[in-house]
Symmetry: C2
Subunit: 470 residues, 2 copies
């Protein structure tokens, strides 16, 4: 594993097979993005020399440039390198799959960057084509071609159309079908968290694109295709149109833009100018129609994680009033569990922003504590406040878990256990692309740190959840 | 996308960020592996100049060298580059997760190469550690460190131990826990297919490794760890030992070695010598104890896919006898579906070997046909024979689907539809690593090619299956 000048290792991908690194950090595009990220961090009220974030500008530059590398790639060359003659035993059949045959590769996971807000979104991709001209394409190339277009600033319908068109022109088959399940994070707002803690964290759209035999959305062959996708049974048996909301799916387009604009105007201008510079460094044209609002959207997203806006995030008066009034609780450490019960509050939603990569992480918080009476509604809303106070800032999950535990302990008593289950966008995007991986962290204070049985009782009661999967 | 001299595209990974390719194909290790693969292809009875396989030696060399790149990597540098100070608000707590805290990254998918047979196996990895010394490691590094050791010739327990040890020494935490779910293909034998078509296609083992607080398998902290893994509830609540069969899990070690040794001895010697040369080219010592049997195991595996051994694969007399006697069937094309019913036979298991990468693919075959009487047991066994005749050779799924359809059509009548659902090892190993992706192919002959309703009726009736998932 090679090291670069900053001590940051190069990704495994860059040094394999004797491949050499070519001064990525010194390239003007990288430097421009790093400078822009520093402006954004300062706009968030962060100290850019703080240990946890001092390499964040470099990490963000690497992630963004890797994540948009598709601008420099050409799908057709990928396809041409892996077209295999497949005339078969019976020349008369003429198609590799036999008459009416389709080849479908299902459930290809990848991510793309939303052109409207610059956040990554997840894609589950299904590609099909009807071989003709007595040739087939290597199966992995369907995935590689999809990736070429995913690694650009995108919206779902255009992504599907571009994949479809590239395969149609490259393979020249009887037809091509592309179906994408896309999953975009909601823009969390504090209001929505307090009004509706059950609000789904995701915007989901399904888009499709077809050419040749799949050109018409009414073609029977769409039925064959959908029959063989794993979600058959839930999807209408006849191929329908793409989701009508796919054009305006990004929550940035319908969130109230002024919600988080608490900073004075000049600073926001500096931040949006920085994002415009990032777009240009990625090889995009910031004056392209779809990108005009992007800098503002991204800054709005970021500003919901600005540091120090305590007043906005939780009602501190409520908190203080509660803390002052709670001295009636019994703190006898020697009482046993039959007197005091383990109470648990499961599945608080949280949102946060990874300070290492400026990418969201999100999931659920479970809180356990020992006492002999139940929580009041006031206390539940208080726990929610504590979670969002520590969530809505640049964070790491480990620290957030400890901070929530310590705060809850100071409010409800010393015996507290907190479990956070999070999905990290930085684990699915960048070079790592580990879809389905989740992170769990535990902080156990008081009796929970020493009493394995109490800890185990709480941990075993945590419900099975799936976080952020399609 | 750059092209190399052979017209094979470079993987996306090699050209990103201006990274240049450094003559991979001209390196002596690559040339030696390519030469060895040619020997293996010839031993299988293949024409190495056939269009579909003429670049297979290069593809295999790339896959193997990429898949064992871990020999050239050092885990400690990865860790040191991403240790973050995390002293938190309350110094007294001393651990990032709070007292008793654990950080767990769950469900990391990757693959490794089995040192006993040289085939890739799937791994679902769960890593946990107890932060101490007021520092945490970047979450993605747990995955990257696991990958360093996975990209070598491995067996499950050593892989778990090496990941655990590297993290313990690199992070110096309170403890490290590693749990691996490993999934290895069975070695298909024709006998087992005919005796027991329900035989599970997989060997599964669970191994664990612990250090520090996790050193003892009886430590309470293992309970915390397992409570937070997704398979809790199915796994014993108290951490057990690793699967006792993990040491000898590779089916090559208990398959009868002589089963497929139908070729004269000198050829097998030439083939095993070629595999030994591959091991050496990957940087391994072929005289290492665990590798002594590997060339023989790999050749045995390959030889089950040798071309032209028809007699071994199906009872041709049975087939010919059946075909000659079947002229009593009614072939009136104009009869309607109320007279003739769509019959279907679902979920025949198949195994095959991808001719592009010399890697297995496997899954299920579904067959539909139109006639007014049911299948006899003889016919079911015949369909099984046809599937394995076309499966047990170097193949592509598209061709296999068509060949099965055409043969079944000649046996049972012209109206035949065949669907193959396959998992391709070449889609999870190599650079592509698309876990969970599957490929479906359709061949529709006779009425099924023109009658969308009949086709749809059959396709909708295919049961939901999950192929090759952990």
């Amino acid at each position: 594993m090679s090291m670069d000048a900053s001590g940051e290792e190069l990704s495994d991908l860059e040094v394999e097979n004797g491949v050499k690194h070519c001064g990525f950090e010194d390239e003007p595009e990288t430097i421009a993005i790093m400078d822009a990220v520093k402006v954004l961090l300062q706009g968030l009220g962060e100290d850019i020399n703080r240990e946890g974030i001092k390499k964040t500008p470099l990490r963000v530059a690497k992630a963004l440039r890797e994540g948009t590398r598709g601008y420099g790639q050409t799908a057709n060359e990928i396809i041409q390198s892996a077209l295999f003659p497949e005339d078969g035993l019976h020349k008369g059949v003429g198609q590799a799959g036999g008459a009416g045959g389709i080849v479908i590769v299902r459930d290809i996971d990848f991510f793309s960057y939303c052109e409207s807000c610059l956040l990554p979104f997840q894609v589950k991709c299904h590609v099909g084509y009807v071989p003709s001209g007595q040739r087939v394409v290597g199966l992995s190339k369907l995935s590689r071609v999809a990736d070429v277009f995913a690694k650009r600033l995108q919206k779902p319908q255009r992504l599907a159309d571009q994949i479809c068109s590239a395969l149609q022109h490259g393979i020249k088959p009887g037809g091509v079908a592309v179906v994408l399940h896309c999953l975009h994070t909601h823009f969390p707002s504090l209001e929505s968290f307090f009004l509706d803690s059950k609000s789904p964290g995701w915007v989901k759209v399904l888009v499709q694109s077809g050419s040749g035999a799949f050109e018409s959305q009414d073609a029977d062959i769409w039925m064959d295709f959908f029959s063989l996708l794993k979600f058959r049974g839930t999807y209408p048996s006849k191929a329908g149109a793409s989701d009508s909301n796919a054009q305006h799916w990004c929550p940035s387009q319908f969130s109230s833009a002024s919600k988080f604009s608490t900073k004075p105007e000049p600073l926001n201008l500096k931040m949006t100018t920085a994002v415009t510079s990032i777009l240009r460094s990625l090889g995009e044209d910031p004056s392209r129609k779809e990108l005009l609002g992007t800098p503002g959207h991204f800054v709005n997203w970021l500003m919901s994680f600005q540091n120090c806006n305590v007043e906005m995030k939780m009602d501190m008066n409520k908190l203080n009033g509660f803390a002052n009034g709670r001295n009636h609780f019994d703190h006898n450490e020697n009482s046993n569990l039959s007197e005091k019960q383990i109470q648990s509050q499961m599945n608080f939603l949280f949102w946060s922003q990874c300070e290492h990569h400026l990418l969201p992480f999100y999931g659920v918080v479970h809180i356990g504590f020992i006492r002999d009476d139940g929580l009041t509604p006031l206390e539940k809303s208080l726990l929610n406040s504590v979670i969002h106070f520590y969530g809505f800032k640049l964070q790491v999950q480990e620290r957030m878990t400890r901070q929530i535990a310590e705060m809850v302990s100071s409010l409800l008593g010393t015996d507290v256990i907190v479990v956070v289950e999070g999905s990290h966008t930085c684990m699915i995007s960048r070079g790592i692309e580990k879809f389905g991986s989740t992170t769990a962290t535990i902080a156990a204070l008081g009796r929970f740190s020493s009493d394995a049985a109490a800890r185990s009782m709480f941990l075993q009661s945590i419900p099975q959840t799936t976080i952020g999967e399609l």
